[in-house]
Symmetry: C2
Subunit: 482 residues, 2 copies
């Protein structure tokens, strides 16, 4: 029996697209094929944009309270229907109940916080003018129009709703292009927002196969009715999206890769460092842009840290990897490192026969890693962290050496710094090139009230809070002669 065909969601209804060009989702650990997925052609893309463009005419005129009320109900419906996320996502990836619960929790927080930030976000300014009583300047915040959102599979629930919420809150309408790995999980937003009372056409969801994605995405971005683009995913794809958005003159938010370090100062609580590292390096198999990939430590407490890792290590465990190609890539990185002298501090290697058969990898921690090994500078996006021991250069303090090593990456998303001296941590923090710096806690986390976004190859722009909503607005300055 062929698997059921997943449809697009346009104008608050499932489409009746044919299976021409459809692709099959394969759960990489079980090998199951839970569904096939309709892949958008130009007609579907045009329908989705037309639906969003038509809906914009009335959604843009809703009051802030009307939009708040819809979003508050979305949070309620999401909590009630959380089981559906577990079911849908579980059919597409091997996700833990713990991780789904965690994500549903922060997702509902984000929805309610966004709803609560509409008023400050949309409050305009009246700047003073040199023209005195001859003129009045009013600077209003307006929605932009139809916004394209693209979200990845790894935080499928949370990262997709991020791309939907800010635009809707500001009075824009949305076309969401799902990840080809988790289309069913992200498609759920269609019926949830509808149940919460979002009018027809305000949220449209289209799928496309990996092969057709470049065409479909350019077709959408190039459309004159599209006025904003947001993308969360890899830096390589992010560059291509940035290039298209720039060429077609669409403002853009790019949330990309991490390769996040934690910086361990010599007065850090090493037991906490060890336990936080296990949690934040291995959660969701390390398939999180914020996951700890590198533990940076000075020579003076390197041995004590290694000891703390060994002493606090949990029982050996393995994690499911979401794509077969990733499994192969990560094994290659670790094998190369071990063959060149890296030391396995925690966990066992190589993967067991059962791990290989179910696309899993052991959760591990490596030390004695050197710059000659690819894993030194490549993001693994797996349940692997490495320890980087650093020596100060001449005239460099031990702390500055740790910061330098932390910054020695193309990315700039999140870093953590551990020290019992908060002043010292903040002072060094100014030199750490990231969008989010966490002090005495692991790299994974997101507070809905505080901006989240990266720099360098981690992209630009940010989500969350009132400023996140403002990213999806146009300032219109009224210059009025009195």
């Amino acid at each position: 029996m062929s698997p059921p065909l997943l449809q697009h969601w346009i104008n608050n209804k499932s489409t009746t697209a044919s299976d021409s060009g459809a692709y099959v989702v394969t759960q990489p650990n079980s090998g199951n094929t839970p569904h096939s997925v309709a892949s958008a052609d130009d007609g579907i893309v045009d329908d989705a944009i037309s639906s969003a463009h038509e809906a914009f005419k009335s959604w843009r005129k809703t009051t802030h309270d009307q939009r708040r009320d819809v979003l508050m109900r979305v949070a309620q419906v999401t909590r009630r229907r959380a089981g559906e996320f577990y079911e849908a996502w579980g059919s597409e990836m091997d996700v833990s109940q713990f991780f789904v619960d965690f994500l549903v929790g922060i997702t509902c927080d984000l929805i309610e916080t966004t709803a609560s930030c509409i008023i400050p976000a949309m409050t305009g300014d009246i700047p003073p003018t040199k023209r005195g009583n001859e003129a009045l300047y009013l600077c209003e915040r307006e929605p932009l129009g139809v916004c394209l959102a693209m979200a990845p599979w790894n935080g499928a629930i949370y990262l997709s709703v991020k791309g939907i919420l800010s635009p809707l809150a500001a009075g824009n309408t949305v076309v969401l292009r799902t990840s080809e790995v988790t289309p069913k999980t992200q498609l759920l937003w269609g019926s949830i927002f509808k149940e919460a009372g979002l009018p027809d056409g305000c949220l449209n969801i289209v799928h496309s196969s990996r092969d057709s994605a470049p065409h479909v995405v350019e077709r959408i971005i190039s459309d004159d009715r599209i006025r904003h683009v947001s993308f969360t995913g890899s830096s390589n794809i992010g560059r291509q999206i940035g290039k298209m958005a720039g060429y077609y003159l669409k403002p853009c938010i790019l949330e990309l890769g991490g390769e996040c370090p934690i910086l361990v100062l010599d007065d850090a609580d090493l037991t906490k460092v060890a336990n936080d590292t296990f949690m934040h390096a291995w959660l969701n198999s390390g398939q999180i842009c914020m996951a700890i990939e590198r533990v940076v430590v000075g020579a003076s407490n390197f041995d004590a840290l290694i000891e703390a890792f060994k002493k606090n290590a949990p029982p050996q465990s393995s994690s499911s990897i979401a794509m077969c190609s990733s499994h192969e890539r990560i094994v290659g990185l670790v094998d190369e490192a071990l063959s060149k002298g890296a030391e396995l501090v925690v966990g066992s290697w190589p993967p067991s026969k059962e791990d290989v058969e179910t696309n899993k990898l052991p959760n591990i921690l490596l030390a004695n890693v050197t710059p000659e090994m690819r894993i030194w500078s490549e993001e693994t996006f797996g349940p692997i962290a490495i320890v980087q021991k650093v020596q100060p250069k001449q005239d460099e303090s031990a702390d500055d050496a740790i910061v330098r090593q932390g910054n020695d990456t193309r990315y700039g998303l999140v870093a953590s710094i551990y020290s019992r001296d908060l002043g010292r941590a903040i002072k060094l923090g100014r030199d750490i090139e990231v969008g989010v710096l966490r002090i005495n806690e692991g790299t994974v986390g997101d507070e809905a009230t505080a901006p989240f976004g990266g720099t360098k190859d981690s992209g630009f722009g940010f989500y969350n809070g009132a400023d996140g909503i403002r990213h999806c607005t146009q300032v219109k300055t009224y210059s009025i002669a009195l």
Copy 2:
């Protein structure tokens, strides 16, 4: 005698570059060749970026007061040295003393206002957190690093300082790439900022020939040390800049073309409309992105408006065009329109023999323009405006028809609306797709305290005020476990 060679400005000094690849500036109206200009090779580009990158290490640590004081002195020096701008710019283009004085005035306003907005721009936030007393979130505004600024020839003084000011105010350093038409005018900023006390390396200025510009600009944008790009100029070039900035993951501001309309409601003061149109369509030969290109009027007061234009028309005059290729292009647009039935309402046509010899064009106004003529939808960027008479469609009000016609353009920079009823003007204003809407005044103008930026093909992002400075900052969120 060959004209003197204009040098780049790096690390607060003129370079001693060779004339290899240099190009000659030709004043298009007199045919004079006042100077030749060194064109940057990869070595010069690297020197400029290295100088800015080195200077960033200390400039980023200056206090807001130190940066304010430098900028306040820049305004003083600019006022004192205004004559040098007139001299330099006058050698490269035929500019009027009136326009230079106007630009120097708003330039000094902008400098002082930017200096005064550093504190609000750099003031961070402490958002509330669900974690209560277990955590503290601090959201600081930080400079980004080295910023690339690119400015055009038409508002050479003002538009170049816009690209310099916001970055410097936030603690960034700058590489300015001059317009190949007005390199000497824009180069003046080097010695002015130096005289005002800007430290070495904070502002670097490079020239490049038109032919080498694509290579030079990509070389700069692709450099890892460059962290922000701003460009003011045409939409065609803006797309190419946007594409590069997106691909290299650099946040970007694009201020592009205008094709600005004024919308004349049936209760407008037509004498004011006529006089403002002459002023704002012809100022600086209409070579301003904010210039009036289209006068949109309903059928009911079309005749009265035409009469007002004729009655208030100033004596016939001509304006200098800055590029020979533009002269030819604009003549083609007008000739085509007249041959297809457009009517000359104000001014004479064709250009006189003397006009042609000195690259000038008569200041004119055309009516009876129809969508079949290219001038209906193409930005002339010359001293030409057209009158668009609109008829409501079925079920459309006269006002809505005027707004629809105003929006019938790829651009979205500035529009003006004229009505004696302010409420009516604001209410319609919500539907006008522009960044700046001016009510009962012409399209050209800029208040340093109020955001200025466009939408659609006019680009994205904005300058001015505290939010303009914030465009050149990174938010760093500190998430602190207590």
